[in-house]
Point group: C5
Chain length 267, copies 5
């Protein structure tokens, strides 16, 4: 963690990462609730929303679309990722080098580490190369810290999530993305463990507007600096409306109900 | 996917890749229906047919023949491939570096990724090296995206084929070669998932003229930009005739029956 | 082992390494006895205590805090380490290259080798790269030599600990950190086996003040040059007080009881 | 396969490779029939026979003897090889880099690929490095293409041997060494599959003079360009005599019986 | 094998390698018969005995002591080695690169290859890197050729030892260290198989003076150029006396009994 490294992908110390690597990680099924979001252009447009402080995509999408959006969007290039077509101990392929991410104009790199996997040691070493490569090119480093694997009984427990947050700090991430551990208190523990590294909660699977925003608000209250969100934005009928509301919750620390009301009145 | 990267191996946005790596992948048995096609020279000659926008071969054939054909043929060097003499989870050997492909004058590189294989992670990382190497030398990148492996029940289902098309886009291919998923509608889904990347259907095993051309026509109607074909050309008695017909179907979007009639009258 | 290589992280040939990689190796649970020690800043402050000759941390903490402490603290960058979330034969991930450690201003690098593990051969080769990299940048090399693994019946036996000390010497460590083998005599054997390399005992799990200091005193009497300690300092209510006592025991070779009395009177 | 690449190790398009890596592959037992052939000098002398167009040895022998023979002998450095002391799926160690072979003055490199082995993919990738390294130094590439392994029922069948010949062509060998498939017709098939790459038959285990020469003659008639032979030369009492006969059969396409008669009259 | 490469670690074509890597390979137990030999300085002093033509140690000892002995001792840096704390198929860690050995002033490098191990292929490839690295820096290459592993029934049979000697020659060693195969005749066979490479017998476990010297004398008579010896020197009460005797047996080819008598009268 380097002080100020994440400034390019945040605003006033807060961040909303629009994550869109689902085509690789989950496949077309994730686009079914809102079919036109299969088109990456729809998402790059969405990423120009002023709530969004960076857009996380794989290399292929960055190559195709980022040249047209580089003035309006901050690029968080997700360096590793894999399909869900295979079965086995959690692992991820490094699909892009830090060097190539820099060539594509990335402001930051993203990297998944599955602590607790039998592949943890190998993934941590791949993370090292990515992290040191990012430092050479002044890109921030965001770790998707998702403990899971054969040895872990409960990978959603607050303890495990806090441990994951700490892994991010120890290994040199500037921002650590963790699952919401179920309560503001537990989120506060995770934030404390990450020390000076930013903690963002992952949006996860689709939930109703208010429940979702309530979690985000709790996370912010607990010291999280923001959210990395995909499905909870693009699987909705009106992605812009939830971005309006997230902007209020994250950047103005509005109450979720109030934020929703304002967002609706904007329509 | 880089806009215009595939221009050198297409014409008016359409492409017919003549694929000829069967000597490696399947062995001499594939040449039995038309024995003189065991001679690569026969195929390089065929590749000068104006329907053909590129010829896909392994390194050894490119070394031996391409110097004599570089003015008339666009070279798509297939970087990986393996024999079918061994048994095991799908995998492929990287037989040529991107750097050497560039030295041989390649316009594009080809690379198989078996999504769903236990080797998917390793293959994706090999693809990364090939893809980034191709970018350094301004060569287009064509992914043979063929999900298969222990974890996959039905690797020919439309869902899996669409997922494979998306893998190509996400990982940075300019062109994605997928199996024909059985209907124009399913092909359309795959094309949509590939976004701006070109999708070409693979020719597959030999079928009768009209059934084959009907699939190609459906694929083109569904948005595919062409075909990568080997056996359905060189295992026929008159390969040039089917190329004539494919040219009509792909580039003039002729009706298959009509295209066949014209091709026959050309004889 | 290079003569004088460890001078930068010792004083008058003695050393007290404050070790703080528990957030990675054990997770948040190690901070529970003294919760504010979860904050790395608390530990960097502690490391400015004049008893401390170096602070051992992972890369992420060094990046975040060392720039503010480089005048007061000697940095021992621990290059490898892993979480305890996974199960399996002992192994460790190389999270930082020697080159990057040098960029961060490290005076020394630390590296764990689990002799006796099925991964011993691989870890020794990773140690080689770290050690030769450290030599290029004039950093001392500290080996955490902790034999353990499937093939070892009793990894805390004096024989095994002596063998571990020798591994450090043979493989090129300047300082070897070993477990306290239970007696001054056994510690003397380990020290003898390490030849000219410094031997420091590891602090291990928390014990009461006097028992702990007695072991340290015995180790010093037996020729050890110091201690590498984490939990036995930061899990106490008053970490500074035990540092005062350790300073007396290690650097003035005071009697433990006397050292404790003096430390208490300092309060 | 590069046109003319093999010119330095052939004469008038024909070649006789004297192979002498048996000390590594089989051990001292291969020298028992003719004990003084354990001395490499005896074989280097033999390689000055005008029938021999190159001598295939491992690195160690080339280092020791080639400086004294470089004017009279063409060196084919065998880059990989292994002992038969271990048991397991066929594999081979890369004992010499192409770069070092070039420093030793090699005219060509030799490389075994066991198609069908579970190690085929890895061996093909090692072959790639050897092949591309050879190209940088203008050395010819000879593949020992010997399909064998767990997945192969009958590795001496004509089909498998033809497939092996094709592997050589596809992967970029200039010369492919295959087993004699039992008949001139089958040899012709293998030659056809190798296209423009030269095919040489391997000498194999010792047989009587005429049976051996008959196979060679059949192979030449079928289009093979020569032979790579070890035991069938050096395990005989008078190796020079069989070289005389081979010269007649290969380069003058003499009848085997006639060639033998002439060779005997030369004594 | 390069002619004259081993000149720096021999005298008049003979050599006595004092081997001292037992602290790594066997641990402190090997020093028990003569405890002050745990101190490497004792051995470096011993290596100044005029009988000794080189001293074989691991990197750590060379770093610590060689600067003080470089005028009197020839350094044979043993590049690989491992502890006996783990169990498994024979293998060894590469603890030092050839480049670093050269920086330390080594005249030669030593490398163990366990022919017949399931790791033979990997070890041979590591040997390749060591050997080619040594050539770049004009250091001699000594192979510890010790066939052993799951596939080998009797690794001390004369046939296996001869095969091991040949492996050294084929793979490019200048000196091959083999076990004494039980008789002068069998040693002669091994020497013959090694061709121009020097063969030294390994001292092995401690035996009584005369039995030991008799084997050495037989080996020299059979063409061996010397011995690599550790325990049979340093586990004796008076290591210098056996060195006196070895000097007579190896360099003056004295009768063992006579050599012993002279050595005793020197006291």
């Amino acid at each position: 963690m380097l002080p100020h490294a994440a400034d390019d992908i945040s605003r006033d110390g807060k961040s909303l990462i629009l994550a869109y690597d689902h085509g690789l990680e989950h496949g077309p099924v994730d686009f079914e609730p809102n079919p036109d979001t299969a088109d990456p252009e729809r998402i790059f447009e969405l990423a120009t929303h002023e709530a969004v402080t960076s857009l996380a995509v794989q290399k292929g999408l960055a190559e195709a679309y980022y040249p047209d959006y580089e003035d309006e969007v901050n690029l968080l290039l997700k360096l590793n990722g894999t399909s869900n077509l295979w079965r086995g101990e959690p692992n991820s392929a490094v699909n892009c080098t830090a060097e190539y991410a820099a060539e594509l104009g990335a402001d930051a790199v993203g990297f998944t580490v599955y602590g607790g996997s039998n592949h943890e040691v190998a993934m941590a070493e791949e993370f090292r190369d990515a992290q040191e490569g990012a430092r050479e090119h002044d890109m921030a480093v965001v770790m998707w810290s998702y403990p899971r694997g054969q040895g872990l009984r409960n990978d959603a427990s607050p303890d495990v999530i806090s441990y994951g947050a700490r892994l991010g700090l120890e290994l040199g991430a500037d921002v650590v993305k963790v699952k919401y551990p179920g309560s503001a208190e537990a989120m506060g523990d995770a934030v404390e463990m990450a020390g000076p590294a930013d903690v963002v909660m992952s949006g996860g699977t689709m939930r109703d507007d208010e429940a979702f925003l309530r979690n985000v608000s709790n996370a912010i209250d607990a010291g999280a600096t923001g959210i990395a969100v995909g499905r909870n934005v693009f699987q909705r009928d009106e992605p812009e409306r939830i971005l309006d509301a997230l902007e209020a919750v994250i950047f103005q620390e509005s109450d979720p109900a109030e934020a929703l009301a304002v967002a609706e009145s904007d329509d």
